[in-house]
């Protein structure tokens, strides 16, 4: 039997989680990946919030409706010629009075490659299971809730909105390209179709999922050399006890589910 037992109910666990998730702050990362047929470089950030705590014995903390606000900045190179044929302007001849007929050579207009920047943000809700993990690192006992497995994030309406944003971004990026006007709609449609929902989820899933999977939510930290009393004078040095062992678990103690920390100490 453990010498010290500290327990909180779900309401307190909810407060604890709310505090900890707020303390996580925004996370960000960058890299390169694929967006349909394109290679993209990306910078993505995500912030977790909300979530409803459900303690499930013996060692699971379920967080339902965990909200992830995410924002991604994408940049990819679009070779317009990959989507619409180059333009061939045929020889043009015109008769100049008193001179004769003058003809221009035929001209091939080769489409350029343009850089398309896309900036987009949205949020999603997911449910994750946290496993209660214990560690002793650098003299500190840590009790954490760690997201188990890789949650399947549902981007839902985000994909349609992001595809629309990509379409707008392509339109803006190629606006300067001479002669693109008549082909703009075709080009945007072709690019969006080439990326598709599969392309977006193929990109977003791997780069945004890490903001949730593997996330560690601190539950509590206890120094292995715990200060019982602080120093309070020349004859009153700080008083410590040694925390020999620590445990953490979820107990079903009807009618409550409780998050319990167990400890043994010695002077």
């Amino acid at each position: 039997m453990s010498e010290i037992i500290a327990a909180i109910d779900e309401a307190a666990a909810q407060q604890l989680f709310d505090t900890e998730v707020a303390g996580l702050g925004p996370q960000s990362t960058s890299g390169s990946s694929s967006l349909g047929p394109f290679s993209v470089s990306y910078a993505v950030s995500g912030t977790l919030s909300n979530g409803t705590v459900d303690l499930i014995a013996p060692a699971t903390i379920e967080i339902a409706d965990l909200r992830l606000d995410w924002h991604v900045d994408l940049t990819f190179q679009l070779d317009i010629g990959d989507f619409i044929p180059d333009i061939h302007i045929p020889q043009v001849c015109i008769h100049i009075p008193c001179v004769g007929t003058v003809c221009t050579p035929s001209i091939d207009i080769v489409w350029p490659t343009v850089t398309v920047p896309v900036s987009f943000g949205d949020y999603l809700l997911t449910t994750v299971d946290l496993g209660v993990a214990l560690s002793l690192v650098a003299g500190v006992w840590k009790v954490e809730g760690i997201v188990q497995g890789v949650p399947s994030l549902q981007f839902g309406a985000s994909t349609a909105a992001l595809l629309a944003a990509i379409g707008l971004a392509v339109s803006a990026a190629v606006a300067w390209v001479p002669l693109i006007g008549p082909f703009l709609a075709v080009l945007v449609g072709a690019v969006v179709a080439a990326i598709g929902v599969a392309g977006l989820t193929g990109l977003l899933g791997p780069i945004i999922t890490p903001f949730v999977s593997g996330t560690r939510f601190p539950i509590t930290e206890i120094p292995a050399l715990f200060e019982v009393l602080p120093a309070s004078g020349p004859f009153d040095p700080a008083v410590f006890v040694t925390v020999d062992s620590l445990g953490a678990e979820v107990q079903n103690n009807p009618p409550e589910d409780e998050l319990v920390v167990l400890a043994d100490i010695h002077p």
Binding site: M1, S2, E3, I4, I5, A6, A7, I8, D9, A11, A12, Q15, L16, V143, T220, I222, F226, V228, L229, P230, S232, F235, D236, P237, A238, V239, F240, V241, V243, Q251, N253, P254, P255, E256, E258, V260, V261, A263, D264, I265, H266, P267
Partner: protein, 246 residues
């Protein structure tokens, strides 16, 4: 039955952990258990607390010391044997310790047998009831130059038992649990009047000592969760528990 019941946070400290905490405090700050006048305690330190001699007309003051061993607490229900005069009720703790009382018997001749070693080494021929030397009327010398050098220490060790209850208090600006005495019993002192006097004396001593011993609530739960007690800390069965808000 849930641990937290209608509260959000629950903390329970077993009897052994409570004694570990008290041992840590007393071991780190032994001066909380060791008091004496200059002949026994040359200066206040982590080890001991210097106090004034007991003034008495015609003398520079009676030199004395009181030293307690780390008290051992037994929380209800009773596990430790107590003198029949004491009983451990619900919500109470019992306390056992040894108290060593010393005086510097300045008028004793050098050739007379020494009393009990104030450092704790018992000497043959002296019981715990101490010594009495009637008829000594020699003027006591002023020995302030010899602080820390009790000339003729005479000591006795008493087994002391007590019962008490927990009180809520504050320590260093934090909510804390303190210890209050309800009754004290010393074993086998006669006559009874003397026992009563000694018990009264030690009750006052113990009460003063325990007043300096308090444990922050955060220490009870090792800071695992923030607890604002609304119930307790109180003595349950062989443990101290508290419940409150997060």
């Amino acid at each position: 039955m849930s641990l937290t019941e209608t509260s959000e946070v629950f903390v329970a400290v077993e009897e052994s952990a409570l004694n570990d905490l008290i041992t840590a405090v007393c071991g780190t700050r032994p001066h909380l258990l060791n008091y004496g006048s200059p002949a026994f305690v040359p200066g206040s330190s982590v080890s001991a607390t210097q106090m004034a001699p007991i003034p008495f007309p015609g003398s520079p003051g009676l030199q004395w010391s009181v030293r307690l061993t780390t008290p051992v607490l037994d929380l209800f229900k009773q596990d430790q044997t107590l003198p029949p005069e004491l009983s451990l009720g619900a919500g109470q703790f019992s306390l056992s310790t040894k108290v060593r009382l010393c005086v510097d018997c300045a008028s004793r001749g050098r050739n007379e047998p020494p009393g009990e070693d104030p450092k704790g080494h018992d000497h043959q021929g002296h019981d715990h009831q101490g010594h009495d030397h009637p008829g000594e009327d020699q003027q006591w010398p002023d020995d302030r130059d010899d602080w820390g050098k009790a000339r003729n220490p005479m000591c006795c060790t008493l087994d002391v038992f007590a019962v008490g209850h927990l009180v809520s208090t504050w320590a260093g600006g934090q909510r804390a649990v303190g210890f209050a005495l309800d009754a004290v019993e010393i074993v086998d002192i006669e006559p009874n009047a003397l026992e009563s006097v000694i018990e009264c004396l030690l009750t006052m001593v113990l009460r003063s000592v325990l007043a300096t011993l308090s444990l922050p609530v955060t220490a009870l739960e090792l800071g695992a969760f923030t607890l604002t007690p609304t119930v307790g800390p109180l003595i349950d069965v062989n443990r101290v528990l508290a419940r409150g808000d997060f």
